[in-house]
Symmetry: C2
Subunit: 191 residues, 2 copies
């Protein structure tokens, strides 16, 4: 197994275990076992567990963004753009339940809160499709005149809740239901 493969085996095992059992249920020894690696080996790739977990999140975002943005056209009407992003996000989560569950675990832990604080309050102003879309929506008076944070909550709150319900088998989403859910969440933000 090459060095890169080994790293990715560790990352994959960690993500899987955390997604399935939460942070409690993913001790380093178990991660090592599932990755077919010695317990000490992990520490050759990651300084400690915190670093491993934050690395997991970063890896995940880098895998996710290109997939969600595939076919996204920045010159179509705002509504269409939102429907694209919403449906793509929802489909991604449904198709990759482990990724979704990991992100949920992550965002409900001290790690995730810190991460989000940086994103929202940070002076990074990093390029962000979502932020751009919503700022355009407000300034063109297509969306409600509410703070960006609230618009995000109105748009993504339902989508994440629905993804969770699907993954926990409280409901079964098909393409039609996905489309109607995203349209409904658009009704929440549009003027």
């Amino acid at each position: 197994m090459s060095k890169v493969e080994k790293r990715s085996e560790i990352v994959h095992a960690a993500l899987e275990l955390i997604a399935e059992n939460g942070f409690h249920g993913a001790p380093m020894a178990m991660i090592a076992e599932r990755a077919n690696v010695g317990a000490g080996t992990i520490y050759r790739y990651f300084e400690n567990k915190d670093v491993l977990i934050n690395g997991l999140c970063q890896d995940l975002e880098e895998r996710m963004y290109p997939i969600i943005l595939k076919g996204y056209a920045a010159d179509t009407p705002l509504r269409e753009r939102f429907l694209h992003l919403g449906a793509a996000l929802l489909r991604y989560f449904i198709g990759n339940p482990l990724d979704f569950r990991f992100l949920e675990q992550f965002h409900n832990s001290p790690y995730g809160v810190e991460h989000r604080r940086d994103k929202i309050l940070g002076k990074n102003a990093e390029y962000n499709v979502f932020r751009e879309l919503f700022e355009a929506g407000v300034s063109r008076q297509v969306m409600k005149d509410l703070p960006l944070v609230i618009l995000f909550a109105l748009a993504f709150g339902p989508l994440l809740a629905v993804a969770r319900d699907h993954i926990l088998n409280f409901i079964s989403l098909d393409d039609d239901l996905i489309a109607r859910t995203v349209e409904a969440s658009w009704d929440g933000i549009r003027r």
Copy 2:
């Protein structure tokens, strides 16, 4: 300290610690210390930590419901009823951030998933204002014709997300913003 007081000291300390630091950050020894109680004493009131935590949730719901339902009139229009419940819920969470944070921790743990599975799939059919409101909304064609679970997600997803953002200081909600947020989430579910 009377027996009842002692129990409630333990419950309060546990809720506070779990809300502030998550389940990780609330070892029994620390709960005991904050409750001014011996470590072993907790086990005179609760069989083990699981029982304590589930008890916390139950206590909390019993405290919450009467407050949220105060002034709720089952004979007013559906929109008005929803706005009442939504605003009451949001105000409760904002006014009791520890309760909110505890519920979030709880629902994102195995405890909470089990709890929710029982509520949604259980044959209990326990009386539930929320379910009743939404079923009426669908059958009177005031709300979108979507599965109940999705309507719940559309309605409460944004409210919970907004409460979280307020409590984490990503935004500051006042009465006006609360009202406009709840109205927006009504737009998401109404036909």
